[in-house]
Each structure stands twice: as C-alpha cells, then as structure tokens.
Point group: C2
Chain length 141, copies 2
C-alpha cells in the first residue's frame, strides 16, 4: 500500500526540483504519518530526526507538495492547518469529541451527494471537504 501517488516524486525531480536532505525527511514523515500533522508537528519530528531544518522550510515544502497534489491541506476547525499524504482515494474525517481521535471513511457515500448536487443545483464538484464531529464507537457508552 503506497502512501504517495506513484511516480509523483520522480515527476518532481524531472521538473528540476532538488531532492534535499530536508525534503527527504519531510516527505518520509508525511508518508509514514498515521494521523494528520500540522506544520509544527512536522517541524518537531524532522528536527528530532535530523536537526538541520527550519520552520520556513517545512512551510515551503508543504506548499510545494500541495501545489503538486502530493499532500492535501485539511481544515479541522482549528486555528492552524493539517496535512496528509494524497493517496488517490478520496476520504473524509470523523472527529471524536471525547477522545479527539480522527477516523476516516470512504468516498462511496459522497457519490450520492455529488449526484444530488449536480441534479438539484447544477453544481459541478471539484472538491468536497467534509468533517464530521461526534462520538466514536469506542467512546459511546
């Protein structure tokens, strides 16, 4: 199961971008991350692993990866952004109020939604950002 889209990193290099020490570490961390990291998380993790990185570089790398659709920026109702690797499978988030855990669910449920919006509103969908807050199974008494 790959985390990043196949061939995407190669494409970056083909476009003339350099694969620096720092980018390597960041791409690694994002790819392995189970949960959704913010810029500061990444900064800390990268710094712990290597030590030679600045927060600016984290932001600049995230911006580069975003532009190339390698990471997605998600908005979980907090004051800062979170990031996750783009895998090609659309998915959405369930945030539990009790434990703070973030589960993901798949795209099939969105298809009905897309159809309805096209039919009823004439709206062509590019992107769906859907975050559901509630209580997850484990926290339900």
């Amino acid at each position: 199961m790959e985390t990043f889209k196949v061939g995407a990193l190669a494409a970056l290099r083909a476009e003339g971008y350099r694969l620096t020490q720092q980018r390597g570490v960041l791409i690694d961390l994002i790819g392995q991350s189970a949960d959704h990291l913010n810029a500061d998380d990444l900064y800390r993790l990268a710094r712990a692993r290597d030590g030679r990185i600045s927060l600016s570089t984290v932001y600049r790398t995230l911006s580069l990866l975003k532009r190339h659709k390698l990471v997605a920026e998600i908005h979980l109702s907090e004051e800062h952004h979170h990031y996750e690797p783009v895998t090609g499978d659309a998915h959405y988030h369930l945030v539990c109020r009790q434990c703070g855990g973030v589960e993901e669910f798949g795209a099939q449920v969105i298809e009905t939604l897309s159809d309805a919006l096209r039919r009823d509103y004439g709206f062509t969908i590019n992107n769906v950002e859907l975050d559901v807050t509630g209580t997850c199974r484990s926290c339900t008494v």
Copy 2:
C-alpha cells in the same frame, strides 16, 4: 422568517449580559447578512453605520454569540473565519471556483450520510461541516 433563534437574545440579557450599542449593531448586521461575513467585514459595516466600535469588540462579540450558539463559525478554506446567524435549519455550502459565490443547500441530503455513518462506523454525529467546491450553474459554460 426569523434569523436568530427565537428567545436567544432575551436569554443573553437574562444571564446578565448587557445589550450595548455595539452589540446591538453587530447582532443587527449578522442577522441581516445575506452572505457570510468575516470579522473585518463586520468591523467595516459596523463602523460605517455607527463609528464607535473596535475590532476587539467585534471579536469579543462573535465569541460571545458563538458560545451561545447564536452564530456559527464556518471554515471556507480561507485563512480567516466566516460567520453566519444560527437559524436552526442545518445547511451546507457550495463554493464556486469561478465566481467565488457561496450557495447553500439543505439538510435532507445529509440525513442519508448520518444514517450510513451510524450504521457502518458506530459514529454518533454532533456536527457536520461540509463545504463543496466546484463550478456553479451560472459559471458552467
């Protein structure tokens, strides 16, 4: 068609909050707003109408109204927040990439989603934040 929840303002006063000049103007503006205002929009509008208000007061008032569920904070993938009056009818946003317009759609389409999430993931929903980006009918060639 009321904009704010009935009795909610009275409840605020009953709790000992004062209905100041500034709060009056802000509540008025939010209630009448057709589109989703951010703090700075509100500041400008209030200032134009009255002149005696600061940005801090706008934020403090929004925070108060948020705490009392009189306004909802919405996250339209921008760097700042937007606000809208809480009416009791759940609704969601369609943001058009071409014209930037924001349409709303109703809750019926969400019910299916809620049912599926409860059934398949055992998740009890408190809040759904759903923002769809795409091309609206008028911008579709």
